[in-house]
Amino acid sequence: MLDNIGIIIGITLMYATPLIYTALGGVISENSGVVNIGLEGMMTLGAFVGAAVGYYMGNPWIAFLAAGAAGGLLALCHAIASVTFNAQQVVSGIAINFIGPGLAMFLSRLFFKGATMTKAIDINHKIPKPLDPIFEGLSLQDSFLAQIFNQYATVYIAFLLVFAMWFVMYKTRFGMRLRAVGEHPRAADTLGINVYRIRYICVILSGVFAGLGGAAMSLAVVSLFSPTLISGQGFIALAAMIFGNWKPQGAMGACLLFGAAQGLVVFLGGTSIRVPSQLLSMLPYLITLIVLAVFVGRSRMPKADGIPYEKGGG
């Protein structure tokens, strides 16, 4: 029983991690006033780049960073469209969501002999579990504690990033300015804050985070990229960000909830309980729907979120 709980918590943390990265991306972009529903596309591209670079280079960290860079580049397109050219941000995001997976599959066929799935990364070239030696040293590798605390490095980094993001947003000059830009860009502008620059930085960072989220999936949770690997997790992260009230710590909590749903799916799939796996795998999405329907009315989004800023006038 205790072991089962350990397994569920462990899986929860593992599956929540890609969501946390991506949701943090949503937090930073939307707090600066740019709606980013393109997270899904950025996450997918990141997952592919992570897996591909990981496979060819054999270094998970280079792969991880490359995934962030790829997400950031795709986000740059979103920034150009929605910040510079005042495009409808949702429409631009939808386009990103088509470009991301499309590009991922195109590149996959190019680099993996026509396959839309990358070749699996050698187990030693995946993101490491840094605490492995400690648990092995204490011969606790299959214990309850190990199930929970012996995680891939990306898991720890994700939680550190939540704290870092909270600190940056609420305790630093940059964070205050980015929130001001998302609430009242004209006010920020009259105070000499460069609205466009801040929005560019935040949108690109959101892509970097989403790319890292994708790689956390393809380099740690599994060890390859397939077209269905991400399938909606970017949207779940988006929902987590909203459910988390546009705050890093709130988004983290929501991601853990959705991660738990995912954990339950995996866990139940491995037990003798007879539930069709298709029905089971609906669980995270159902929870998303219910949570959004019940809670979203109460959350407060940044006032200028989704509204292109145009200088002059008034």
Binding site: M176, D189, L191, G192, G314
Partner: protein, 511 residues
């Protein structure tokens, strides 16, 4: 006056011209302001005052012309340069970040930080407190801006400019959103600031305030400089004439008139506001034919809820409303309109017009379903535009083009369009809330005339306004509303501003 240093010209704008497309917003305007002076910039809406000040603040670049700050020619390309030159601006629509605290708003863009860009809010709070004490601008530094009153928010705006070292403060229509009490406090603040050597440029179209606080006044009309005058040497009437370009009468001509029978009867009305708190409490009031009943009161004493309840937009908790003897207490808005009540709503853009509909469509918002405007559910656009053309002619709505979107019209013309529609509906009772808010003198005169004309046609008019002058000028009887009840009704001829003011404040007898 005693604080003005005539030897030092802090702002000199010479031959400023600003062209937007083919519209000349400013045409060779000049403006000279001395240190320690309160300089009013007077003009009707759209005269070009704000454009001129936006140029001074670096939000627009002038097409032609030169600006000298403290005698030095300066190219103010961005607000940042303006701020460096000691110019601060308090915009009409506040530029405050609502979920931020007072301190955060004040320091934003000029934050005090420790190592690595980490905010030092303790130091910032201390700075703000000492600044606010220096100028007598008291604020709660840790309150969130969304929780404080509009008057407080304005102080935050002024502090924001002072924090950036502003010596020249531009205040854009600062009193438009304030209560009479807050206006008095603001005038006190302005005096304090000039005492400390600051210079104030006041954009306004309210003559009374200019007389109260300004030393000099520059009048702009249709983008041109008309005159710069010593305020103590001119009357309000002279200022108004210069602003509008013709004589304006403040006093509305009103014939003596006997009122007729009761039209609207409100008994013990109780209404809740959006937060579920009783905003109108057991209010009783009667309006007669052939009279204008003014409801005076400070904002937020239940005026909006009262009107929304009468017009069927807000549920009535208790009490009754009768129109021509018929009970309309829980009727739908449509039924209330059909019982011959017309409303000129408080927020003309939100409730009075559909901004993205054409003027013609807006003219039939209440009657589109009736013949001749539609038959069996099909609109007759010919009839609608014919009808609108007539109204546009009769009520002098400009531009004279019924296919334009209502959004394009100026505030005054939007209000004219609403008045045209509501009056043509031939009501027995005309309800108007803040009918002249944001309008300039010419348009105000027009609205007041229209109201008196309705009264002379033996209709009942209920006028709710926060402007005491307006109430006193136009009404026959004045009811004072305080905390959701009518605390007194006086005959307008015997009304006294001080006594009304006291009643509006709850009748506290010490003042």
């Amino acid at each position: 006056m005693q604080h003005i240093d005539f030897k030092s010209k802090v702002v000199e704008m010479k031959n400023i011209t600003k062209v937007f497309g083919n519209v000349t917003a400013n045409d060779q305007i000049h403006l000279t302001v001395h240190k320690g002076e309160v300089h009013a910039l007077l003009g009707e809406n759209g005269a070009g005052k704000s454009t001129l000040m936006n140029i001074l603040y670096g939000l627009y670049r002038p097409t032609r012309g030169e600006i000298y700050i403290n005698g030095k020619k300066t190219d103010i390309a961005t607000p940042n340069i303006a701020i460096q030159q000691g110019i601060g601006m308090v915009h009409q629509h506040f530029m405050l970040v609502e979920p931020f605290t007072v301190v955060e708003n004040i320091v934003l863009g000029r934050e005090t930080t420790n190592f690595g860009g980490v905010l030092d809010m303790k130091k910032a709070t201390e700075d703000v407190i000492s600044l606010s004490e220096q100028y007598g601008l008291y604020v709660d530094p840790n309150a969130k801006v969304e929780d404080i009153t509009v008057g407080m928010q304005q102080r935050v705006e002024i502090l924001k400019a002072l924090y950036r070292g502003a010596d020249i403060l531009i205040l854009d229509e600062p009193t438009a959103v304030l209560t009479p009490q807050e206006i008095r406090e603001l005038i006190e603040i302005i005096r304090n600031l000039t005492k400390e050597g600051k210079t104030i440029i006041l954009i306004t179209h309210k003559l009374k305030e200019i007389k109260q606080v300004a030393d000099y006044c520059t009048i702009i009309r249709r983008g041109r400089h008309i005159d710069t005058v010593d305020v103590s040497a001119v009357t309000e009437e002279e200022l108004a004439a210069k602003m509008v370009g013709r004589e304006v009468s403040f006093d509305i001509e009103k014939k003596e008139k006997e009122r007729g029978k009761v039209v609207l009867q409100i008994e013990g009305l109780t209404v809740k506001d959006n937060r579920g708190i009783e905003a109108v409490k057991g209010l009783s009031l009667e309006v007669y034919e052939g009279e204008i009943l003014g409801v005076a009161g400070i904002d937020g004493n239940g005026q909006s809820e009262l009107i929304e309840a009468i017009t069927g937009l807000r549920p009535i908790e208790a009490g009754r409303v009768k129109m021509n003897g018929k009970d309309i207490t829980h009727c739908k808005p449509k039924e209330i309109i059909d019982s011959k009540i017309s409303t000129i709503p408080e927020d003309r853009q939100k409730r009075g017009l559909v901004l993205d509909f054409s003027v013609a469509e807006n003219m039939v918002l209440e009657n589109y379903a009736k013949e001749p405007f539609s038959k069996k559910g099909i609109l007759n656009h010919g009839e609608i535009s014919q009808f609108s053309k007539e109204l546009i002619q009769t009520f002098d709505i400009r531009p004279k083009e019924e296919t334009l979107k209502a959004r394009i019209l100026s505030g005054g013309n939007q209000q004219k369009a609403i008045i045209a529609r509501e009056i043509t509906n031939d009501p027995d009772l005309l309800i108007t809330a803040q009918p002249t808010r944001g309008l300039d003198i010419g348009a105000i005169e027009y609205v007041h005339r229209a109201l008196v004309e309705q009264r002379d046609k033996n209709r009942a008019v209920l006028l709710v306004s926060l402007e005491l002058d307006e109430i006193m000028n136009v009404s026959d009887r004045i009811a004072v509303i305080y905390e959701g009840s009518i605390v007194g009704i006086v005959d307008a001829k015997e009304a006294d501003e001080n006594r009304l003011g006291l009643m509006m404040a709850g009748g506290g007898a010490e003042e």
